[in-house]
Amino acid sequence: MLAQQFVNAISLGGVYALFALGFTLVFGVLNVLNLAHGAVFMLGAYAALQGVVLFRLPVLAAIVLAMVVTALAGWALDRMIFAPLRARQAPHLAPMIATIGVAITLTSVVEGLFGAENLRFPIQMLPSEAFSLGGAQITSLELKIIFLAFALMALLLWGLKKTRIGCALRPLAESPKAAALLGVNVEGLFSATSIVAALLGGMAGVLIALYSNAVFPHMGQPMLHKGIAVVILGGMGDIRGALLGGFFLGFAEVFSVAYVGSTMRDAVAFGLLFAVLLLRPEGLFGKAEQRRA
């Protein structure tokens, strides 16, 4: 049972981390608490599902479709919501409130188009051979989910460290004005960040949809709550924090079910989170003068 719960926790934690990465990225760079991130997560799941059901795409192509759709959503979110608000120097809360509106709109549109009921990927499309690994039953699908989650995370970390865009993000997170003076294309980077964040959120949606066999319009809501918790735990805007926080929550949830009781799943997970914050109010990696992103 231990081995199996370990596999469960890794897959779940990977998805949480992926979701939280996008969330924390937007916060770190754009300084916006993006409450539409849950809806983008849901959009990714629906895009992949419709790709499979409507256009009869193979799973991999459907995932690419989901990437295109969520990237577009991220771009539109920045251009239509964040950019105009930035230009008007709207107060801090305005973009956050606006993203609530975006979330409601996206959820309602999807509900109107595809209905409120649960949907799932057609089973024969999914790889389902199961391996026994040290007493754990692990499907090739789960392996792929874990692999994809880690690959995306590694790609993001590498991109932030080694690419020009990644390097330009750091002064941007510090001060957009100073970055602009240094010749950084600030608006372009804001858009890029929003796109990458939406991509990560959308991918998390696709993976959880594959993992759990459940796609429904409101699936982003519980995820959003968990994402906020993870990001606060890791330190707002901190990439490593989001990664570790995601796995922390995954493990906390799974092992509280295993050893405390499923009634206590959220109580234990969020209780632990509370305890960590009591000891480190700034989050695992947050420092008062820490640079974001």
């Binding site: 049972m1 009921e117 089973i123 039953q137 409101h218 009781g261």
Partner: protein, 383 residues
């Protein structure tokens, strides 16, 4: 002479108009979850009610008067249910109303109807305590208290389980009350429980609980869940290599199980008064008519809503309308309890229950359960 003739003619016409508009329409209300998560149950309910209304109106209505059904969306929320109940009762002035979709909402909104002395007819509320709200509260949805012991007993005989694990949703009045009834029945049958696990509405990951259940060496899994969570639970269990039988409540009796847990749906046991496989002629006619008008197979929610409308129609046929709303509303209440009906869900009658204060309260359904198990994406009737 001429002017009096004209006047007479005008009066005659007016008289006719007055007469027809009084008898032409009987206003009924339905408060169902048409949007939001619960609309997966509210939508088939709406279709079932509409199908029955169009059939009844097509064959002459209620002594010539047509049924007019006003739908309001209660979104599966308590507050909304109270709001739309008030609108239907006080603004639209309906004669009786159907709904709401969830037991959760019924607990909140049915007292509004009771206080206004309007019959509220639940077609999908199966939790305990709904009809004890008062004597204007009716339902034709059979309670899980009646169904689950029968399901457990027959599933136990056929699969031979000795000990079971229990998994239920603990934040929903329907699945929680299903759990309470399962627990009671398991105690009566003296079946030991290896572990009791819970989940919450909207959860998508059930593998930690299922892993624990697998390790507990149970012979079967007793599951109190709605399809939205129940189907992924079955799929995830099979992916974890758990082949145990599932014994489900009312919520798992839907052909949607086969869409959502396709190829992972075998060996699920459910009990219900309605089955898509039931070959009774009323049921076959209902299924054919439903498929014709909606292009999809009905589920239990549609079947019960369809029957409810016919049951209400039988009561309406018995009363003499006075044109006074209050008097007509109480006439409906007095006529409804004696109705007996044989529809898509089989032979039906009401049974008055005793409220918490010991006085006679609302009315529950009396029906026989059909126990089914699933094989190759179909229900197979076992009894």
């Amino acid at each position: 002479m001429k002017s009096t003739q004209i006047l007479g003619g005008v009066l005659l016409v007016l008289g006719c108009l007055g007469g027809t508009s009084g008898a032409a329409e009987i206003k009924l209300g339905a408060a169902e979850a048409l949007t939001g998560n619960a609309s997966q149950y509210g939508a088939p309910i709406r279709k079932g009610l509409e199908l029955a209304v169009s059939e009844i109106n097509g064959s002459g209505g209620i002594h010539g008067a047509k049924l007019a059904l006003i739908f309001e969306d209660e979104q599966g929320k308590k507050e909304e249910a109270i709001n739309v109940f008030k609108k239907l009762i006080f603004q639209d002035r309906v004669l009786l109303l159907f709904g709401p979709t969830l037991s959760n909402s019924a607990q909140a909104s049915d007292p509004v109807a009771q206080a206004a002395k309007v019959v509220v007819f639940g077609t999908s509320n199966t939790a305990d305590g709904i009809t004890s709200i008062g004597n204007y509260v009716f339902r034709n949805s059979v309670t899980e208290a009646d169904i689950l012991p029968v399901t457990l007993k027959i599933a136990g005989q056929k699969t031979g389980f000795k000990k079971v694990a229990v998994l239920y949703g603990n934040d929903d009045i329907f699945t929680k009350s299903g759990y309470d009834n399962f627990r009671k029945a398991l105690q009566e049958l003296r079946v030991p429980v290896t572990t009791t696990e819970t989940f919450a509405k909207g959860d998508v990951d059930f593998k930690p609980q299922l892993t624990k259940i697998k390790a507990s060496n149970a012979d079967a899994i007793v599951l109190s869940a709605l399809v939205a969570e129940g189907a992924p639970i079955m799929a995830q269990a099979r992916q974890l290599g758990i082949t145990l039988p599932f014994i489900g409540g009312n919520g798992m009796n839907s052909p949607r199980v086969f869409e959502l847990a396709k190829d992972y749906s075998d060996n699920l046991w459910v009990g219900s008064p309605w089955s898509v496989e039931n070959p009774a002629s009323e049921n076959k006619r209902f299924i054919a008519a439903y498929q014709k008008s909606h292009g999809a197979l009905p589920d239990q929610f549609a079947a019960q809503a369809y029957d409810a409308m016919y049951i209400a129609a039988q009561a309406l046929k018995r009363i003499k309308f006075t044109g006074k709303l209050e008097a007509d509303r109480s006439a409906v209440r007095d006529a409804l309890p004696v109705v007996q009906w044989s529809g898509a869900t089989g032979a039906f009658k009401f049974r008055q229950i005793t409220g918490r204060d010991g006085k006679p309260a609302g009315y529950d359904a009396v029906q026989t359960a059909i126990v089914m198990s699933t094989k190759d994406n179909r229900y197979v009737i076992q009894k």
